[in-house]
């Protein structure tokens, strides 16, 4: 048991070393800094001073609804697929680990990286809100961080699964986003809307008075159920992805045939 745990922590360190070194390049950091700068500039120009509504609309619609899921899709969808396409997957799959373990390790490391990036972004967004005179942000920050943490877990797990399903995972992900999140998630006459990750995020964020005031239509009942749904969804997507990676062969020569 202890040996297994030691092996796993060593493997996690190894995977983190590889993921960190690939993600944290000078070029990637420069691009992220430029993107963050452009976004900050746009926010500063478009948010009216003292308008919490303006700020929340930016943070909710652009950041949480669009930027976070799309980044998760891009980063975690490609975590295995990019290795297949670059023909470097064999360096991982010939290491002494079950294939599902490799999948989980990749997921954990990529999610770790995303959580770091989004934590920094969120702090920046709240700092900008404070600069723009939005009030009540201090109370919202802990809830927003928890919600974002769960959102990144769920979006990333879904993205990892989509990445294993098909090489056109970006298109499938965007279609999923449109159909399930913005389609089924808006259906009010049935419980089918519970399938939407965004709906669970709305439920969590609407526990904050300021958010509920601005977005009155967001449900604010049963926040713990929303957390549970997000965790169960994460587990389900991960289990499906791990099963797929365990039983399916991934070779560059197979890519053309997909």
């Amino acid at each position: 048991m202890n040996q297994t745990l030691t092996n796993l922590t060593g493997a996690l360190r190894g995977m983190w070393t590889l993921v960190w070194a690939q993600r944290c390049t000078k070029r990637a950091l420069v691009w992220m800094a430029v993107a963050a700068g452009v976004m900050a500039l746009l926010m500063l120009r478009t948010i009216n001073h003292g308008s919490e509504r303006n700020w929340l609309e930016w943070v909710s619609w652009f950041y949480l609804h669009f930027l976070v899921p799309l980044t998760c899709l891009n980063v975690c969808g490609s975590m295995m697929r990019a290795e297949v396409q670059a023909n470097t997957l064999s360096f991982l799959t010939t290491r002494p680990h079950h294939r599902h373990t490799l999948f989980f390790l990749q997921y954990l490391c990529h999610v770790g990286w995303l959580q770091l990036v989004f934590f920094v972004c969120t702090m920046g967004l709240f700092a900008l809100g404070a600069v723009k005179g939005a009030e009540g942000l201090g109370k919202l920050l802990p809830l927003f961080l928890i919600t974002q943490f769960l959102a990144v877990l769920a979006w990333s797990a879904l993205s990892a699964l989509l990445g294993l399903l098909h090489q056109r995972f970006m298109i499938i992900g965007i279609l999923y986003w449109l159909v399930v999140e913005f389609g089924l998630g808006q259906v009010e006459v049935s419980n089918i809307n519970q399938l939407s990750i965004l709906r669970q995020l709305h439920t969590l964020l609407a526990q904050n008075e300021l958010v509920y005031t601005v977005f009155g239509s967001w449900p604010n009942d049963a926040p713990f159920m929303a957390m549970l749904v997000l965790l169960v969804a994460t587990f389900f997507f991960l289990a499906a992805g791990a099963a797929l990676f365990t039983f399916r062969e991934y070779l560059p020569s197979h890519e053309a045939g997909q």
Binding site: G10, G14, M15, T17, L18, A21, F91, T94, R99, L251
Partner: protein, 316 residues
């Protein structure tokens, strides 16, 4: 059952009626063979099934039918087997943004090497493959083909595997690099590592691998020692070129020992082309004959079929 290097030893790799299809295309067709410790060359024309076989051995592909075991167990999704395998792929694909040392450190940790010993381990292995220290912390994108081959070999060796599988390891290497790799592989084989090498450079395999497995159209068409394959092709005699201190006396001695079918004086300084009757008995008593008759040997080489000849004959 074809065998390569398993005489009297437990096979490292054992395939039984192994087949692999890609849709309707047959990659491997009902093959059975065994591979033992030591150096084994995997030879075959393009499309023979070499890469498919290597991918099944290294747990990247599953058989469609039959079974392949490494150390007695199936390699697919089996950490216990994979722990003993080192794999150097043919493709020149590396994570180009990473530095050599960072990449190897990550892979070493993934391979289960104790974290505290990883830096020393990585440095030792980079020294072993003779990658100059000045390149250790450069991104892999800046590496030449030869340097990339050395790093690929290093990642395969990093966890001291019991079976090393190399797909075209000499690609892109200069003659010095090839010598280095050959030296490393011979040393590993001498230490008990089973080494399976797939290569198109037949004369190098010939010099390196006593055992050969020849594939064509997804089937094993020959396997065993090079000597045995040569015998199979040409019967029970061997052709040698010899240079010694007294050629006339040597021929008399060999005739007397009933080992010589014929000879030809090549005219150069002490040179003889010999047709030896029983190569096995010849190899057993030749040194004794030289010693007993006080003959000095300057050169001895086979004039028989090379691996290239065997390969061409077998794949005709």
């Amino acid at each position: 059952m074809s065998t390569a290097g398993t005489t009297g030893t437990t096979p490292v790799i054992q395939a039984t009626e192994l087949s692999r299809w890609y849709g309707i295309v047959m990659g491997l067709n009902n093959i059975s063979f065994e591979i033992g410790p030591g150096l084994t060359g995997l030879v075959g024309p393009n499309g023979a099934g070499k890469s498919t076989l290597i991918k099944i051995i290294t747990g990247q592909l599953q058989p469609s039918d039959g079974e392949l075991t490494v150390f007695g167990a199936r390699p697919w999704n089996n950490p216990d087997v994979l722990r003993g395998i080192g794999f150097c792929p043919e493709e020149d694909a590396l994570p180009d943004r990473l530095q050599a040392r960072t990449w190897l450190r990550g892979l070493a940790l993934l391979a289960g090497i104790v974290p505290g010993t990883v830096p020393g381990h990585v440095d030792a292995i980079l020294d072993c493959v003779k990658l100059e220290r000045v390149h250790w912390d450069k991104p892999l994108a800046q590496f030449s083909k030869g340097m990339r081959q050395r790093v690929k070999l290093a990642q395969a060796l990093i966890h001291n595997p019991r079976l090393l599988v190399l797909d075209e390891p000499m690609n892109g290497l200069d003659p010095m690099g090839r010598q280095d790799i050959q030296r490393i592989l011979k040393q590993l084989a001498a230490e008990g590592t089973a080494v399976l090498i797939s290569s198109h450079i037949l004369h190098e395999l010939e010099a390196l691998c006593p055992e050969i497995l020849i594939l064509n159209w997804g089937r094993v068409i020959a396997s065993g020692s090079q000597l045995a394959l040569q015998r199979r092709l040409q019967g029970t005699e061997a052709n040698l070129h010899i240079k010694c201190s007294d050629p006339a006396r040597l021929t008399r001695v060999l005739f007397k020992a009933d080992l010589l079918l014929g000879f030809n004086d090549t005219g150069d300084d002490g040179g003889l082309d010999l047709r030896v009757k029983d190569p096995h008995r010849f190899s057993e008593c030749f040194v004794d004959l030289l010693t007993e008759n006080n003959l000095a040997l300057h050169e001895l080489r086979s004039r028989d079929r090379s691996l290239q000849d065997i390969f061409e004959k077998m794949t005709e």
